[in-house]
């Protein structure tokens, strides 16, 4: 369970985030939607303790994220390609992250074998550094690395952008399966309304840092969102 209380973030006098209360129960697939500058990435960054909130605090499974680092062992995330280490090959990168998450080589290999379809023969065993991969393939590496070590919480910023259609469909299926048994909480943000409505049971719309909609996904959600954003 993730609980966010009175979170605000100000840069000088401009307020970029202001969320009074937000509770994400364990096992929920949670979608964050909003235009550029709505505060989606800022929220994720605060949740990952990469920036400090001006006020308030977030607890991730009873751990206050900026007081203790215990959340790191059960939280996997991919925000953008700066999360990748450009001079490593994909295998080396997975080994590095897997090592930090307490997996051995065999664990990592058996984990990666599940993603062979997604990798499509373009990522493993290619003798290519991550910095030389295409944007889409970099994203695949980052997302898979975020899932290493069976995290309880998975945070993905814009996971669908730059992915090819086949991988988009596979990723959606994967994310749905993750939350099937209500063990893993998945948080994604996206600009693509149809993808989030498909994946997420709950969608929160941010506008200039404020929560303007909090919807249980249903048949009508996509329409509702489209009419909201069609200005």
């Amino acid at each position: 369970m993730i609980h966010s209380k009175n979170i605000t973030k100000k840069y000088g006098t401009t307020q970029v985030l202001n969320i009074e209360e937000l509770e994400i129960p364990k096992g929920q697939s949670f979608g964050l939607v909003g235009n550029n500058g709505a505060g989606k990435t800022t929220f994720f960054n605060i949740l990952l303790d990469l920036i400090r909130p001006t006020t308030g605090e977030i607890t991730n499974h009873d751990v206050i994220v900026n007081k203790s680092e215990a959340w790191k062992s059960f939280t996997g995330s991919f925000i953008d390609e700066t999360f990748l280490i450009g001079y490593l090959t994909a295998e080396e990168y997975f080994d590095f992250i897997g090592d930090l998450r307490g997996m051995n080589k065999a664990d990592i290999n058996s984990f990666l074998s599940k993603f062979e379809e997604i990798f499509n023969g373009e990522i493993l065993g290619k003798k290519k550094y991550l910095r030389d991969l295409s944007k889409g393939n970099q994203k695949k590496v980052g997302i898979v690395a975020a899932l290493l070590g069976n995290p309880q919480v998975v945070i993905l910023d814009e996971p669908f952008a730059n992915l090819d259609p086949t991988t988009q469909i596979r990723l959606k299926k994967m994310l749905k399966e993750l939350t099937d048994n209500k063990e893993v909480t998945v948080l994604v943000s996206s600009h693509d309304l149809s993808h989030v409505t498909e994946v997420c049971e709950r969608i929160v719309v941010l506008d200039k840092g404020n929560v303007v909609k909090d919807i249980e996904t249903s048949q009508e959600t996509l329409k509702e969102l489209e009419s909201y954003f069609a200005v």
């Binding site: 400090r52 080396e92 290519k128």
Partner: protein
């Protein structure tokens, strides 16, 4: 159109990260550039007189002419290894309404002003001026100068035609080594021909038209080739290097530190700038030769000897250590979301610095030749680098707020440098020198050396205590570092 290209060039140059730095650094770099230019001028002006002095009775011009053939072949080999056609600049222009011919002229024209072509002028122009000053024929000297300019430009365009062709490269190398060998063993003297050709041009400056015609021909050939190659899958293609995946599983014995150590090794070996720093630290071992061979330091300025002995083993600690953790700035954010122990993370860097310093110390063993005294100084310096400087630089690293782009080139790259890099010199360099004087003046030389070594050992003994403090400091500075590393330099 031409003016627009010039404007682009102007902006590219002055907006490059090269100029985006503090005023103090600019002044230092400026002085350095002036110094280099002055040195080359002195060489160009002085060589005439040097040759006359070294080979009395010979004509310096003829001596230079006879060796020009080697210079030209050497230049071609050097270009083959280093020079690339500046073709990537036109990528954004390809889809704009500009004729391909113009783009080709732009690329080729730009290449004419590359540093490879300008560099040699620092020798040829002053040499020509001296020739004229020494009452050589003005026409002959100018003809000679223009020949050299045209030959340099021919090499420029010939290199693009060779275009990384291995056969051409080996032919040139064999040609160069072969002619040098033939010359050395007095079997065949090619310098005579080299001399007669360039002497001939000096005598009849009209022959300058030959290299000029050659240049025009090479230019036209290049123009034809490049025009056909101006596609994203041909000339305008980003070359991708194949990954070298050495097996580093031996590092697994380091337990929790293993992933960091493996990563650090790959960081150093797979990025140009870190690799340069690493390789340079081996060159630093030779630093002592400058100081230990000159008795004046031993008699009057022993402080300089301390300075030198610190440098002999300190090349890696100083140059690499001062940019920790900025080397990892591009993915620092990710590291901070991982379940890592800061202590182990920092300790892996500490081990790396210690091991490399120890290796450098072993490499410095031949200094025994200069006497035990110097060797002990180096040993004390190594102890100080290992025990004290590693900790100071790790601590100072928590103040690093400048992002480093690992993909940028290695030589003379000062990205990531700030006032901090100068302030850290004080403890790292001045404390050992201060210690030396404080103990050697009252108690003699050996006490001074022992004090430095003792300080280093003290650092080694108290390492755990200070490492914990440093780790705390990194945690505290985490947000500021993440924010700063996000800003592109």
């Amino acid at each position: 159109m031409f003016r627009r290209f010039l404007k682009l060039e102007w902006k590219q140059y002055f907006r490059s990260s090269y100029w985006q730095k503090g005023i103090a650094l600019k002044i230092i770099m400026g002085f350095f550039a002036l110094y280099m230019m002055a040195s080359f001028l002195v060489l160009g002006v002085g060589s005439f007189f040097l040759i006359r002095k070294a080979m009395p009775g010979s004509d310096p011009l003829q001596v230079v002419n006879s060796f020009l053939i080697f210079a030209i072949i050497g230049d071609l080999i050097f270009r083959y290894l280093m020079q690339k056609m500046p073709v990537m600049n036109v990528k954004p222009l390809l889809v704009l309404p500009i004729k391909k011919n113009k783009l080709v002229h732009y690329v080729l024209g730009k290449s004419m002003f590359s540093a490879f072509n300008i560099f040699s002028l620092f020798f040829y122009i002053p040499f020509t001026v001296v020739l004229i000053g020494q009452d050589y024929s003005v026409y002959g000297a100018l003809g000679w100068l223009f020949t050299m300019i045209f030959v340099t430009q021919c090499a420029n365009f010939l290199n693009f035609i060779i275009n990384k062709n291995n056969v051409a490269f080996w032919t040139l190398t064999v040609l160069l080594l072969g002619t040098i060998a033939l010359q050395y063993f007095n079997i065949y003297d090619i310098t005579i021909h080299s001399q007669s050709v360039f002497d001939g041009i000096f005598a009849n400056p009209i022959y300058v038209s030959i290299p000029f015609v050659l240049l025009v021909i090479l230019y036209v050939i290049n123009q034809k080739i490049l025009k056909q190659q101006l596609y994203l899958d041909a000339a305008v293609k980003v070359k991708v290097k194949e990954a070298n995946t050495a097996d580093l599983s031996w590092a697994n014995r380091f337990g929790e530190m293993a992933p960091f150590i493996k990563n650090e090794i790959r960081l150093i070996w797979r990025n140009k700038r870190t690799k340069t720093v690493f390789l340079m630290s081996f060159a630093f071992v030779l630093y002592g030769l400058i100081f230990f061979t000159n008795p004046i330091y031993e008699e009057k300025m022993p402080g300089f000897l301390i300075f030198a002995s610190l440098f002999v083993t300190g090349g890696f600690v100083l140059n690499y250590g001062q940019f920790i953790p900025a080397w990892e700035s591009s993915y620092y954010k990710m590291l901070m979301t991982q379940n890592l122990s800061y202590r182990k993370y920092l300790e892996s860097k500490w081990y790396l610095m210690v091991v490399i310093t120890a290796v450098l110390f072993i490499l410095a063993t031949p200094y025994l030749y200069f006497g035990l005294k110097f060797y002990l100084m180096i040993a004390a310096g190594a102890a100080f680098n290992i025990g004290f400087n590693t900790l100071v630089l790790l601590f100072a690293g928590s103040f690093n707020r400048k992002q480093i782009d690992l993909n940028a080139s290695g030589f003379g790259n000062t990205q990531g440098t700030s006032a901090k890099q100068f302030i850290v010199i004080i403890p790292v360099m001045l404390i050992p020198i201060g210690l030396f004087y404080a103990f050697s003046l009252p108690f003699g030389f050996n006490a001074g050396i022992a004090a430095i070594a003792g300080f280093g050992i003290l650092g080694l003994v108290t390492k755990n205590y200070f490492m914990n403090l440093i780790a705390k400091r990194y945690i505290k500075e985490k947000y500021a570092a993440i924010h700063a590393f996000d800003q592109k330099a």
